[in-house]
Symmetry: C2
Subunit: 217 residues, 2 copies
DNA sequence: TCTCAACTTGTACGGTCGTACTAGTACGAC
DNA sequence: GTCGTACTAGTACGACCGTACAAGTTGAGA
């Protein structure tokens, strides 16, 4: 991820071999005036990594990609600022971790969807149902859209956005065929976008009818 | 516009009656060390307002809403920073001005589109043609999408986004009817989004066929 | 028990930001 | 002319940012 969305951003210095253990000379970091240092938590690198990624995702969904910062994520996770840069050398890494988490969520959704379609007697109605359900979680839909738009500007985000798209395609194509899948996916994205802007719910029956039109060549 | 996209933002102080002419006490602004003050341009408030809005739009389309700042706009317009805040009290105002300009552009496009559809023998083909043409200017499409997503988060941007949508609807509805218009618009937005992500061009024939399916109930 | 690297925490630097403000200038009203 | 003010230009403040780093702590291995 070279520059995820839109933020002044400096690159980590070049020498950086992973985490640069060498003490290296520099100005001294003064101790707190006389305040107490918070007692140190038990070590648990895996959990911290997970917590930070989860907090990043929360911040992204609440405030948007562009407002996501180390400090916001650290605060959300209840961890010190330094923890974010220790585990995720750059902000882009942190954001990517959050988005990966979202992608994983979606992936598990996809499995449910695939199963639902396999057993559906009326495929267009089933697809419409999935879309309507998907749209009940606006914040998730918002993240997806934001990722899309950001990906259009930042090539580094494109693989992630494409994963979204191809995952969807792989589910629909066996049931709808290539062309209808393309059309239904575009419809899906458009409906999502409009639902986000207008705040209206989608009409399940109308959507079913539309999808049926697209799928019966 | 309360918080257009995603940026830490303070509000202009409350007293502010438009532009606050009272000199008001405060620290002195020191003169330049000994550098020369740039010769002052001729007065032309209208032109400056226009230039700033145009520069804002340029910055938005090049860098995205989130990276748009007073300084970037001022630099793009070749004007001092102070000019931006003189004419647009807050950054949100400046961004809004840029987007209004884009909206005006779109409006004039809409008129052309309406005319094209009035004289079209094959409406679905004509609509597909308009969409394909619209997508040749990726940067414009990008702005539209960015506005959409930002509007989903920021209510203040919603009217502008809605203007986009209703303008489109007013053009299509006389030819397609209410339901097909809804569907074609969703398809339009979805196709736009996907074109931006994938970078692929849309297939005009396929799009025509799809729209035809949506419009022949 | 001691060692030491991995980990935790707090702070610092240099930057950009929005916005407030001072100071200088052009130009219409008189 | 001269005056007043709308406009132009430049700078300052305080905030937040990404990132670098030092110092404290833990716990596994010798």
């Amino acid at each position: 991820m070279s520059e995820s969305t839109a933020r002044p951003r400096r690159r980590r210095s070049d020498r950086d071999p992973a985490h640069d253990d060498s003490p290296a000379p520099g100005r001294p970091a003064r101790r707190q005036a006389d305040g107490e240092r918070r007692p140190q938590r038990a070590r648990d690198p895996e959990a911290r990594r997970r917590d930070l990624a989860a907090a990043a995702l929360e911040v992204i969904s609440e405030s948007g990609l562009a407002r996501t910062s180390h400090r916001a994520v650290a605060a959300k996770a209840g961890l010190p600022l330094g923890a974010t840069t220790y585990y995720f050398p750059t902000l882009d890494d942190l954001i990517a971790a959050g988005l990966q988490l979202a992608a994983a969520d979606l992936q598990s959704d996809f499995e449910v969807w695939a199963e639902r379609l396999r057993t559906a007697s009326d495929v267009p109605a089933a697809v419409a149902g999935l879309i309507v359900e998907y749209l009940t979680d606006r914040q998730r839909a918002q993240i997806e859209c934001e990722l899309y738009v950001a990906a259009a500007r930042d090539p580094a985000l494109r693989p992630l956005a494409m994963a979204w798209l191809t995952g969807m395609r792989d589910i629909l194509e066996p049931h709808l065929g290539r062309d209808a899948t393309r059309d239904v996916m575009a419809l899906f994205d458009g409906v999502t976008l409009q639902a986000l802007i207008t705040g209206h719910d989608v009409d399940r029956e109308a959507l079913t009818a539309t999808i049926r039109r697209l799928t019966t060549g």
